[in-house]
Symmetry: C2
Subunit: 142 residues, 2 copies
């Protein structure tokens, strides 16, 4: 059924929509992410793709990971950084980020406010890989 789902930010101003579930990741000391939510905005039946919205709270970050599938990202709210391999780039509203297969990547919000972004992926995709200790050390050496 064709429909409109209204933008309905919560009392804190965090981005929410009618009839869209918000998944809040578990927060654990050892978890390789911090303060991040995920909402699937679209997964059309006739399309092989999903459009998700991720929101990282101030000071939070996504998992440092890589995978065969690509990400296509548009920043919808706030600013922060994205690590692509050994480079880190500042990003802000409406910037576009293309992430190639097997590229290590991590998003971070600034300490001042949230970073929210759309992320387009194939519905069928491989599982993320996490870096080994050696790989992590190599990424951090400049």
């Amino acid at each position: 059924m064709s429909n409109i789902r209204r933008f309905a930010p919560d009392a804190r101003g965090d981005f929410r929509w009618e009839a869209v579930d918000t998944l809040r990741y578990k927060q654990e000391g050892s978890a390789p992410f911090k303060d991040i939510t995920r909402q699937v905005l679209f997964a059309p039946a006739d399309q092989a793709t999903e459009l998700r919205y991720f929101e990282i709270a101030a000071g939070g970050y996504s998992t440092l990971e890589r995978h065969e599938h690509t990400h296509a990202v548009l920043v919808l709210r706030g600013s922060g950084t994205v690590q692509l391999g050994r480079e880190t780039h500042a990003i802000g509203e409406n910037d576009l980020v293309s992430i190639d297969p097997l590229t290590w990547h991590q998003f971070r919000a600034t300490s001042n406010g949230p970073l929210g972004f759309l992320c387009l992926v194939s519905k069928e995709r491989d599982r993320p890989q996490l870096p080994s200790e050696d790989e992590r050390a190599a990424l951090e050496s400049r």
Copy 2:
């Protein structure tokens, strides 16, 4: 190659991005659209989908059409209306619009400013159909 393409609005504030071509539709008296541009933001090689950005200038509108493929739309800028079958709905920033197969639809900007929206479609899709005179009359009768 992973990359960042910066948001780079033009002197009028219309939404543009680095390294993204803007297609301005021909303006003809008989054309069933008015004052609309299209930019393909993402068409990832491993994904069967494209994310496009359409911007309709104040007072402009898209073609009234239908097709088998679905549209998944997120309003990025401004406000306006969308016709879905015989219903017309007001839409504003960050609202989500899902358009089912064979649903007549048309987007309009208000007279006060532009309406800009993201539109997700399959790369392989059928051509739009235009309404016959009878179909158009039926859509307009309330």
